[in-house]
C-alpha cells in the first residue's frame, strides 16, 4: 500500500495517522483512569478498615427496619416463623425463649413506632426476603385506630418513597438499585454521613433508641429501658405519657379493618401460613378505650373475625394482669417471659 515513490498512498496516510493519534490518546487516558481508580479504591479500603470506629449509617427510614432487614437476610432462609407487629409485640416476644422444635427458627420482625400502613408493606418485604413458613401477626385494637391518620400517612409516605424499601419490595428503578448497591459495596458511599461529620455521631442518640442491640433472632432486648428511659424518673414520665397517649383520639375505622383483612388474604395467597394473635392487654388499656369494655370487645371481635375470614388461624387472648406490663400497653420482662411461653404453646411448639 505505498505509492510509486515509496511514500504512503494518500488514502492510507490519514488512517495511519488516525490510528497513531488514537494510540497516543489511549496511552494518555489509561494511566489517568488507572491511577484515579486506584486512588478511589485505596480510599474505600481505608474507610472500610476504619468502619468499626464510624457510626452505622441509616439509609432505611428507621434504624430498626434497616437492622432487622439486614439480620433477616443474614438469617434467610433459616427463619421459618416470623413475628410481625408494632411496639407491643416487639416488647412482648423473645424468640430466644421459644423452643426450636415445632416452630423452627423464629425471628421477631416487629417494628416499634410504625403505623399499620408501614407494617403492611414491611410484612410483604419480610415475606419476599425470607419466605417463612409461618407469619404471626400480633396486634391489639390500636391497629384499627385512625386517630392520628395524618401523622401516620407521613410516616407511611416516607417509608414508601425510601429507595431501599423500593428495592426490597421489588419495585425499585435503576437508580434505586444503584443506590442500594453503592450502600452495600462502597464504603465511601455507605459511611458518607459519618465522613462528612467526623466530630459528632449525629445518629448516636437515635441509634440508642431506635437501633438497640438485637439478639441473633432479632429480639429488641433493650426495648423497655431504651424506649421508656434510663432513669426511674424518665421511666415514670414515659409511662405516664404512654398511658395518656396510648389510645388518644381513638376512633374505630372500617377502612383499617379492611386493610388488615386484605394483608392477611394477600399473605395467604403467597402460600404462607398466617396466624393472628390478638395481643393481651392490661386493664389500664381497656379503661383507656373511649367506649370502655364493650367497645374493646367489639373491636377485638371484629379483628378476629376479619383475620379468620381471610384465612388466618386466630389465637385469642384477653386481659392480663398489670404485673406483666411496663405501661398500659407494653410488656415488661416478666410479661415477655410469660408471653413467649404462652405463644409457644398456642402455636403448638414442643418444649
Amino acid at each position: 500500500m505505498t505509492g510509486s515513490d515509496g511514500a504512503p498512498a494518500a488514502d492510507v496516510l490519514p488512517s495511519r495517522r488516525r490510528a497513531r493519534t488514537q494510540r497516543s490518546w489511549v496511552a494518555r487516558v489509561v494511566p489517568i483512569v488507572a491511577v484515579a481508580v486506584l486512588v478511589a479504591v485505596f480510599a474505600d479500603l481505608v474507610v472500610t478498615a476504619a468502619a468499626g470506629h464510624l457510626h452505622q449509617p441509616q439509609y432505611w427510614p428507621t434504624f430498626e427496619s434497616q437492622r432487622k432487614y439486614d439480620a433477616l437476610r443474614a438469617e434467610a432462609p433459616a427463619a421459618t416463623t416470623v413475628f410481625i407487629g408494632d411496639s407491643v409485640l416487639d416488647s412482648a416476644l423473645d424468640p430466644g425463649l421459644l423452643p426450636v422444635s415445632g416452630l423452627g427458627s423464629s425471628f421477631n420482625a416487629s417494628l416499634a413506632g410504625e403505623p399499620f400502613q408501614v407494617l403492611s408493606d414491611w410484612t410483604r418485604i419480610v415475606t419476599r426476603a425470607v419466605h417463612p413458613k409461618t407469619i404471626v401477626l400480633g396486634f391489639d385494637i390500636n391497629v384499627l385506630n385512625d386517630g392520628n391518620a395524618a401523622g401516620e400517612a407521613l410516616l407511611a409516605d416516607a417509608f414508601q418513597r425510601s429507595r431501599p424499601v423500593a428495592v426490597a419490595e421489588g419495585r425499585g428503578d435503576l437508580l434505586d438499585h444503584l443506590d442500594v448497591w453503592l450502600h452495600e459495596h462502597v464504603a465511601l458511599f455507605k459511611y458518607r454521613s459519618a465522613l462528612r461529620q467526623p466530630f459528632q455521631n449525629s445518629n448516636a442518640a437515635g441509634a440508642q433508641i431506635y437501633d438497640p442491640p438485637l439478639t441473633a433472632l432479632g429480639w429488641n432486648s433493650d426495648f423497655a429501658a431504651k424506649e421508656l428511659g434510663n432513669t426511674p424518673a424518665d421511666l415514670s414520665a414515659a409511662v405516664t405519657k404512654i398511658d395518656h397517649d396510648i389510645l388518644l383520639d381513638y376512633h374505630f375505622d372500617d377502612d383499617r379493618l379492611r386493610d388488615f383483612a386484605s394483608l392477611v388474604a394477600q399473605e395467604r395467597r403467597t402460600g404462607v401460613n398466617v396466624v393472628f394473635v390478638s395481643m393481651p392487654v392490661s386493664p389500664a388499656f381497656v379503661q383507656a378505650v373511649p367506649g370502655g369494655r364493650a367497645d374493646f370487645d367489639a373491636a377485638v371481635t371484629a379483628l378476629k373475625r376479619a383475620a379468620g375470614a381471610s384465612g388466618a388461624r386466630v389465637v385469642p387472648s384477653g386481659l392480663w394482669p398489670s404485673r406483666y406490663f411496663a405501661d398500659a400497653a407494653h410488656f415488661n420482662r416478666a410479661g415477655t417471659i410469660r408471653f413467649s411461653a404462652w405463644i409457644a404453646s398456642e402455636l403448638g411448639a414442643r418444649p
Binding site: 489517568i32 484515579a36 486506584l38 486512588v39 478511589a40 480510599a43 474505600d44 458511599f189
Partner: protein, 471 residues
C-alpha cells in the same frame, strides 16, 4: 434532570454518541429534540412557553429583516419585548407586584383585591427570555443578520447545557456556531471538557451541597446562633453560591465543548477581585455584560455626567437584583451593589477598573479581603428569607452574642474555603480553567481519584437542585 444527577450522566453520553455520528443538519435536529426533552424533565407544561418565546423572536427577526421603516421596526421589536417581558413578568413577578402593590395602596387607605393566582415559576425562564431579547435587540440594531434557519434558532434559544441557568448566550457569538458545521473535539479538547465537568461537579456536590445544611440552619434561625457562627454562615453562603453556580457553569461549558460549541465564560475567580467593579467583571459575567450592553449603555452609561452615571448604575443593579427574583431581598442586594459601584466610581475612579492587572499577594490581598466583606454583606440580603430577616441576621453579627460553633461546620467551611481558593489561584496563575489537564497523567489520575472520592462522599440520595434554577 439536573447536571449532578445520574440521569444526566446517562443522557449526555447518549446524546454525544448519536450526535457525532450524524450530519450537521441532523445534529441540530437532535440537539433540539434533546434540549426540549431536557427541559420537559423539569415540567413538560412549560415547554409551550419556551416554544412561544422561540417562535416570537424568530418571527420578529424575519420581519425586521424585511422592514426598513424605522417606526415599524420599533413596533416589531416592541412585540418581542412585550412577549418576553410579559411572560417573564407574569410568571416571575405577578405575585410580588400584586402583594407589594396591595400593601402600598393599603397604606394610602385604598384596599385592592387583585386576583390571587398560584403561579409556578418555569425553570430557566429568566435565561431564555434574555436570550431572545438580546437576539431581537441585536437584529433591531442591525448588529447581526437575522437567523433564517428555524431549527438552528430554536437550538440557540433552547441549547440544553445553558437552557436552565445560563451562561446567557449572545446571538452574534453563539448562533454562527449552531448554524455552521461544528468541528469534532480532539482528544485534548475532550480531556479539557471532561476536566471542567469534573471540577464543576466537585464544586457543586462537595462544596456547595455540603455547606448548604449549615447555611440553611443559620439563616432559618439566626437567634439560636452566636455572632461567630452567623459570621461564618455568611462566608459559607458566599462559598456555597459560588460553588453552586460556577460549578453549574463549568458543567454547562464542558458539556457544550463536547458538542463542539463554545459557551461564554461566566466566572473568573470573582472572590480574588480587588474592587466591586472588578467583582462584576468576574461574577456571572454573562449577566453583568448583558445588563451593561442592553440596559446600562442604552440608559446612557457614563456618558451623561456623574449623577446620571450613578443613577444608571443604581438602576442597572436594582433591575439586576430584581432579575434574580421577585423579592425585596434581591432588590436590596442589587441596590447595595449599585451603591458600592457608585461609591467606588466617586472615590476610587479608574483604579477599580483594571480587572486584568496581575494579582499580587503582597498588594492585593487586603483590597480583596475588604471587597469580599462587602460582597458577603450583600449576600446576607440575597440569602435571607426577608429584608427584615437579613437585618436581624446582621444585627446578630454586630452585637456580640456568645454561642458555640459546630466543629463539623468549621471543618467543612475550612476545607471548602481552601479548595475554592486553591482552584481559583491555580486558574489565576495558569490563566486556564482546565489547568488540571496540564498535569502529568499520574498527577491527573491522583487528583481525579481524590475528586471522585470526595464527590462519592458528598453525594446524597437525591441530587440537590442548583440555586440558580430558581431564577
Amino acid at each position: 434532570m439536573t447536571f449532578n444527577s445520574l440521569q444526566y450522566a446517562v443522557f449526555l453520553p447518549a446524546v454525544l454518541l448519536v450526535y457525532w455520528s450524524v450530519s450537521h443538519r441532523l445534529q441540530n435536529l437532535l440537539l433540539l429534540v434533546a434540549s426540549y426533552f431536557f427541559y420537559a424533565t423539569f415540567g413538560w407544561r412549560f415547554v409551550g412557553l419556551l416554544l412561544l418565546s422561540t417562535v416570537t423572536d424568530y418571527t420578529v427577526g424575519r420581519v425586521l429583516e424585511h422592514t426598513e421603516d424605522e417606526p415599524r421596526r420599533k413596533l416589531v421589536f416592541a412585540c418581542s419585548l412585550v412577549v418576553n417581558l410579559g411572560v417573564l413578568g407574569f410568571f416571575k413577578y405577578y405575585n410580588f407586584f400584586s402583594d407589594e402593590g396591595t400593601r402600598a395602596f393599603g397604606h394610602l387607605g385604598i384596599h385592592l383585591a387583585p386576583p390571587v393566582l398560584r403561579v409556578l415559576l418555569p425553570v430557566g425562564i429568566s435565561f431564555y427570555t434574555f436570550h431572545g431579547i438580546s437576539y431581537a435587540f441585536d437584529v433591531f440594531r442591525r448588529r447581526i443578520e437575522p437567523c433564517r434557519d428555524p431549527v438552528a434558532f430554536a437550538v440557540f434559544v433552547a441549547f440544553f447545557p445553558q437552557l436552565v441557568a445560563g451562561p446567557i448566550g449572545r446571538a452574534h457569538i453563539q448562533l454562527p456556531q449552531i448554524v455552521h458545521e461544528r468541528t469534532r473535539p480532539d482528544a485534548t479538547q475532550v480531556g479539557r471538557a471532561v476536566s471542567l465537568i469534573l471540577l464543576g461537579l466537585l464544586k457543586k456536590v462537595a462544596i456547595a451541597d455540603l455547606l448548604a445544611p449549615y447555611v440553611d440552619s443559620n439563616f432559618a434561625n439566626p437567634s439560636a446562633q452566636g455572632s461567630i457562627s452567623l459570621l461564618l454562615g455568611a462566608y459559607a453562603f458566599a462559598l456555597q453560591i459560588y460553588g453552586d453556580f460556577s460549578g453549574y457553569s463549568d458543567i454547562a461549558r464542558g458539556s457544550a465543548w463536547l458538542l463542539g460549541v463554545n459557551l461564554p465564560e461566566n466566572f473568573n475567580q470573582p472572590y480574588l477581585s480587588r474592587s466591586i467593579t472588578e467583582f462584576w467583571r468576574r461574577w456571572h459575567i454573562s449577566l453583568s455584560s448583558w445588563l451593561r450592553d442592553y440596559l446600562y449603555v442604552p440608559l446612557g452609561g457614563n456618558r451623561k455626567g456623574r449623577w446620571n452615571t450613578y443613577r444608571n448604575l443604581m438602576l442597572t443593579m436594582l433591575i439586576g437584583g430584581l432579575w434574580h427574583g421577585a423579592a425585596t431581598t434581591f432588590v436590596v442586594w442589587g441596590g447595595l451593589h449599585g451603591l458600592y459601584l457608585s461609591v467606588e466610581r466617586r472615590f476610587l475612579g479608574g483604579e477599580t477598573r483594571d480587572a486584568e492587572r496581575a494579582w499580587s499577594w503582597r498588594t492585593d490581598l487586603v483590597p480583596a479581603l475588604i471587597t469580599f466583606q462587602f460582597v458577603c454583606l450583600a449576600w446576607v440580603f440575597f440569602r435571607a428569607p426577608s429584608a427584615a430577616g437579613a437585618v436581624h441576621y446582621l444585627a446578630g453579627i454586630v452585637k456580640p452574642r456568645a454561642g458555640s460553633v459546630d466543629r463539623n461546620f468549621l471543618l467543612t467551611l475550612l476545607v471548602a474555603g481552601v479548595v475554592t481558593i486553591a482552584i481559583d489561584a491555580a486558574q489565576r496563575v495558569t490563566l486556564d480553567h482546565t489547568f488540571l489537564t496540564r498535569l502529568r497523567p499520574w498527577s491527573q489520575g491522583l487528583v481525579y481519584g481524590l475528586m471522585g472520592s470526595a464527590v462519592l462522599i458528598a453525594a446524597g440520595g437525591t441530587p440537590v437542585p442548583f440555586i440558580y434554577f430558581r431564577f
